[in-house]
Structure formats: C-alpha cells, structure tokens
C-alpha cells in the first residue's frame, strides 16, 4: 500500500516535444485514480513515468514520501497490467503468474500457494497449465491481472487493460477490476481513453489534454461541474450539446429560446471580469424532458422550445432524439476540437435529447422539450472556461 505523489512532474523528449507539463497529483493510499483523455494527452506517459519505464525530465515522484525518480522499475514494487497483456508466451499460466515471485526468490512451496490463491481469485484454476496462445482474450487479461496481484505490490498501474476486449466482456471485467481493487485495497492508477470506463471505475478522475491536467475530481463532479469546454465535451455520453448564445437584457438569447439568467448564473457571471457577449451554451442531453410525461424537476421556471426530430434512437432504457433547430449559427472553439477529436465546429442547429422511453415521440415529429435553466453551462469561446462555475 502506498501513496503516490507527483510534484510538477514533466516529460520533455530530446526532440523538444513536451508530452507532460508539470503535473501535480497525489494518489492517496488505497485510492483508485483514473487518468483519462484523448490519445496523445500524456496519460500513458504519466503512467510509464510512475512505473519507471520512462525517465522523468522534471519534477519529483514520491512513493510513500521517498523520491523514486532514479529508482529502477523493479525496485519500486509496483505492478503493471499492459494493454497488450504482455504475457510470456513460452511460459504456462502458472509460470506467468509465478514469474514475479520467482524473480523475488520466493521459495517454491510458498510461491505455489500464492499462485493457487491468485488463480482462485481470478477464476483461472483450470487453466494453470495452459500457454497464453491457448487462452481467450478475457482469460489472457485475467492472467495479466494475476501476474500483477500475486506479489502484493505497493500499487497497481493499468494501461488500458480492457481496450482489447469485446464490449460485453469489457463491462464484465470492469466490475471485476472494481471489486478486486476494493477487496485488495491497493493504490491503483488506471489509464483509459474511454470516458465511460473512467466514470464507472475510479474514486477520482484525472482528465488530461495536451499534457496538462484539465480537471481532477470524483467522476460525478467532472460530469456536473466541468471546469471548461474540454471537460464538458469529453465527459458524458452522448456528449453535451453546445449552442451559440448571447447575453441580452439580463437573459440569454439562444436557438433553444430566451433563457432568463438564474441567480446562480448571474452571481457567477458578475464575479468574472470581461465576460464576452457571445458565449457557448452547454446543456446535457439528459437535461431535456418531454412535457407530456411531466416535465422537469428544478427550482426555476422551466424553459421550453420546439424542434423537428430528425433521427430517433430507441435504446430500450432511453430514447435519444436528434433534433434539427431552426437556426444557422454554429459554435466554433478549438477546445471542442480537442474533446471531439478534431471536430472543431459544432453546428448550432443540431441537438441531442435523452428522453424517457415512455415518450410517444416519433421521427419527423415537431417535438416540444422542456428544461431547467439551471442545467445550463456557459463557456467563454476563446478560453473555454466555464463561466457558471467558480474556478
């Protein structure tokens, strides 16, 4: 068990490219922290620096208060699960799981007991004498996990351990990992590019972009109170809707109607200086409701608008309605491009609403939707900062 502290940890490659900018993060003992972000955001580099597989070029990494920048990976007592599993193909499952024990010089009888116990935890008992080539993807993944947990390391590092599994197995393994981590109580740093995985797994989420931390906090907080456009766009599925908006006479003028500023918004906006007139309005698909089913719950008077349902996706537990609005404005921000992997412009006449499956809506309908104005986020298009949240 260990506390992992990163203090201004940075990575600059010899060619001058900086993959990670002075990163500050403390992973508490027993905590499950998820590093998440689009590809190339520096999350894997960060993990490799914690592992010792990559040199730290600036800052300090401490495990339980001791500086380990210069300590070799084998001396850090950290186990890692790789995306590729990296099982040793010439060894059986038993030998694979037992490899760290063999290197540690544990006597055979004790090691055998440990291996059996690990196999039991991971449901690998019948496979111990097979070689990795004769295992399914899920089994290989479990062997990789076994190799990590067998020696009770101070911390686990996981580098996209589920991304090679098919969707169903991934959901299954997700809960397995979650359960395992709770049971063992071992400090875990987990890297993924999948926001669903990040939301469901960890205690805290560290969302990164371009080598910088965008926001750190419990998944729920990142979902509800995103600090900027990037976070707002990255977290949540389907993604938050972004629409152009303007402040006019104490209200917001937008394609989803005139929205009176709530007290919360007014206070937040007043505390900032230089709020631009044109803003990006963000509203989650979950914020909308079909008024025929009872509308929304919220303190403020609900707002409403109508649009034509272009496509309706029925997912059983919910319905996703893609609406076209009567507007030609578009939202443009490089911060959105990062969150949506290159999609820079967000057409202001498109909107997704997540509705109750009981809604009688059909494709082609003119649909009236209601929403709580307090569910609105306002962002500055140039800096991407969420103006309705206290930074």
């Amino acid at each position: 068990m260990a506390e992992i502290a990163l203090e201004k940890v940075g990575k600059t490659y010899p060619d001058g490219y900086t993959a990670v900018h002075a990163l500050d993060l403390t992973v508490a003992d027993g905590e499950f922290v998820i590093l998440v972000g689009p590809s190339g955001c520096g999350k894997s580099t960060t993990l490799n620096m914690i592992a010792g597989l990559e040199d730290i070029t600036s800052g300090e990494l401490r495990i339980d208060g001791t500086r380990v920048n210069e300590v070799a990976p084998r001396a850090r007592d950290i186990a890692m699960v790789f995306q590729s599993y990296a099982l040793y193909p010439h060894m059986t499952v038993r030998e694979n799981i037992g490899f760290p024990l063999r290197l540690a010089g544990m006597d055979r009888a004790r090691a055998a007991g440990k291996i059996e116990e690990t196999a039991r935890i991971l449901d690998l008992e019948g496979l111990l004498d097979r070689r990795p080539a004769h295992l399914s993807g899920g089994q290989r993944q479990r062997v990789a996990m076994g190799r990590a947990i067998v020696r009770d390391p101070r911390a686990f590092l996981m580098d996209e351990p589920l991304s090679n599994l098919d969707a169903k197995l991934r959901v299954q393994m997700r809960t397995t990992i979650s359960r395992l981590q709770k049971r063992l109580g071992t400090t875990t740093v987990y890297v993924t590019h999948d926001q669903t995985e990040a939301m469901t797994l960890g205690d805290r989420m560290v969302l990164m972009n371009k080598g910088r931390v965008q926001q750190v906090g419990p998944p729920d907080e990142l979902y509800r109170r995103p600090h900027n456009l990037f976070v707002a766009g990255f977290v949540g599925s389907p993604a938050m809707n972004f629409l152009p908006a303007e402040i006019q006479d104490g209200a917001l003028r937008s394609v989803i109607g005139r929205i009176p500023l709530t007290d919360r918004m007014r206070n937040a906006l007043q505390r900032r200086r230089g709020v631009p007139r044109e803003l990006v309005l963000g509203v989650r698909p979950e914020a909308f409701a079909d008024p025929r089913l009872g509308g929304v719950h919220g303190g403020a008077e609900p707002c409403s608008f109508t649009g034509q349902v272009e496509i309706l996706e029925s997912l059983g537990a919910e319905k996703l309605a893609y609406l076209t609005l009567d507007a030609d404005a578009a939202v443009r921000s490089e911060h959105l491009a990062d969150a949506f992997q290159g999609r820079e412009s967000w057409s202001g006449d498109q909107l997704v609403a997540r509705l109750d499956p009981a809604s009688p809506v059909r494709e082609g309908d003119e649909l009236e939707l209601v929403y709580d104005p307090d569910a609105i986020h306002l962002f500055a298009p140039d800096t991407g900062v969420n103006l309705t949240e206290d930074a």
């Binding site: 010792g52 990976p73 084998r74 950290i78 790789f82 990296a86 040793y88 193909p89 290197l103 990795p132």
Partner: protein, 275 residues
C-alpha cells in the same frame, strides 16, 4: 481441373529444380562408391560397388585430423559468433545509441568485402602474432565473417519480439539481464538456432582461409585437407577419395539442418500480445 493442372505444372518445375541441384551431388556420391578401375568408365551408377574409398580416407590420419579441426573450429567460431552477435543484435534492435547505424554499416561492409583481398594481410598479421597455423588463427576470421550474418538475422528476430514483454519483465522485478535471459532469449531461440546453423555452415564450408592460414594438419580443416590428397601411385588420380571425402563433409551438414529444421518453429511468440 485448373488446380490439378496447376499442381502438375508445379511438380514439373520442382522436379526440374531438384534435378538441377541434386545431379552433381548424386554424381559425387556415385563416384565415391566406384573402384579405381571403373572410375572413368562414364557410367553414372557404379558397376562395381566398393567402400574402399571411405576406408581409405578414414585410414588417412590427415583427413581424420582435418575433420576434427573442422568440427572444433566450426563449433567454437559459431559459439563465439552467436554469443557476441546475440548481444549486438539485441542492442541494435532495442537500444538507441550513438553510432548504431555505423555499426550496422561496418558489419555490412565486412560481409561484402571480398575475402581473397584479405588473405595476404591476414597471413602477414597472423605470422607476426604467432597465430598462423593455429585454431585461433582460423577462428578469428571465421567469427569476423560470420558476425555480420549473425547480427543481421538476429536483429530481425529481436525486432519481432514485442517490447511490452520486456517492460512487463522489468515491472515484474527483473534486472535487464534477467529480462533478456528469462524472457527475450527463450523467445529468440528459434532465431538463434537458425542463425547458428547458417554461421556453422559458413565456417564449415570455408576453403580459402583454411588453405592460406595453415601449413600443417595442426589447424587445417577438412575441405583444405582434401586438396592434399594423393593417389596410391603417381599414375592414379585420387578422384574416388576426394568424392568420398566430399560426401563425408556434406552429409553432416544436411543431417544437421534436417534435425534442427523442426526447431525453427515460426509463431512461437503468438499469444504474447493481442495482435
């Protein structure tokens, strides 16, 4: 229809190639079983079979000594070339170090260098160093010329081994040498065996260095020894003995390759990583 015709066509081509490659070998084999009287009768198959040629060469101490030299020098050279080549190839495949392309370039240069142009300087150097006509005197050039081949072949094998395996070994607590010995080397084994066979063949088949850098049977290898064969009288050609000796030095190599061919299994790394 078409596949049948295709197969027939391929069989014909295969037979032709085999014929082309094996007729000289068969001829030598046939010669080695002929008696001195029938050796020049023009018949392909011996009219009268005899093992006298084989008995003769094994009674010849020089040839037996040459075989011993060949085997000893070949094995030592191969072992040294593989040991050095494995480490060099690993470094070339995995590490970024200054002068890497220079090392590769120079080793390629050595491989392309015409050996005949090196014989005279080598002769002088080895006489000066006292290596002339000794085992080390032959092992040295053999290792030198086997190394480029070894480095090239092995670095390809090392490149195919997923890097993640090494990282995993490091995380599991292995020192770099343990990672190499317990994870990388076993996976590279098929490649090492293949390369070893090739290196051994290079040394075993050498004639030029052996004839130039030796003066007695102290280090002269079998192929060079054959060129010193004499007939039982000055009116007799040692053709039969040469043929028999040629068979004796060819057969082990063929057996060797056939034996180890099974070890050259491809796809041993499957299952390591999802791919």
């Amino acid at each position: 229809m078409t596949t049948g015709r295709n197969r027939a066509r391929w069989s014909a081509v295969n037979a032709l190639v085999l014929l082309y490659a094996l007729v000289p070998v068969a001829w030598i084999a046939a010669l080695s079983f002929k008696t001195p009287a029938t050796i020049s009768d023009g018949a392909f198959w011996p009219r009268r079979w005899t093992l006298d040629n084989y008995r003769g060469i094994f009674a010849n101490d020089d040839f037996v000594r040459g075989l011993v030299n060949s085997i000893g020098i070949g094995l030592i050279s191969t072992a040294v070339a593989i040991a050095v080549g494995t480490l060099a190839a690993y470094a070339i495949a995995r590490l970024a170090f200054p002068g890497k392309s220079l090392v590769l370039g120079v080793s390629l240069l050595i491989a392309m260098f015409p050996q005949i142009s090196l014989v005279t300087p080598l002769f002088q150097i080895e006489r000066g160093l006292g290596l002339f006509n000794t085992w080390p005197g032959l092992i040295l050039p053999y290792v030198t010329f086997a190394l480029p081949l070894t480095i090239y072949t092995l670095s390809t094998f090392f490149r195919e081994i997923p890097w993640d395996l090494e990282k995993a070994a490091k995380m599991d607590g292995a020192t770099p040498f343990q990672a190499f010995r317990l994870v990388i080397a076993p996976l590279a084994m098929p490649g090492v065996v293949t390369t070893a066979i090739l290196a051994f063949i290079v040394c075993w088949n050498d004639f030029l260095f052996s004839i130039s850098l030796t003066s007695s049977d102290a280090a002269r290898t079998a192929p060079a020894t054959i060129s010193f064969f004499t007939g039982s009288s000055q009116f007799e050609d040692p053709t039969g003995s040469i043929a028999a000796a040629a068979m004796v030095i060819t057969v082990p190599i063929v057996v060797f390759v056939l034996l180890f061919q099974r070890r050259i299994v491809s796809g041993l790394t499957s299952g390591a990583v999802k791919g």
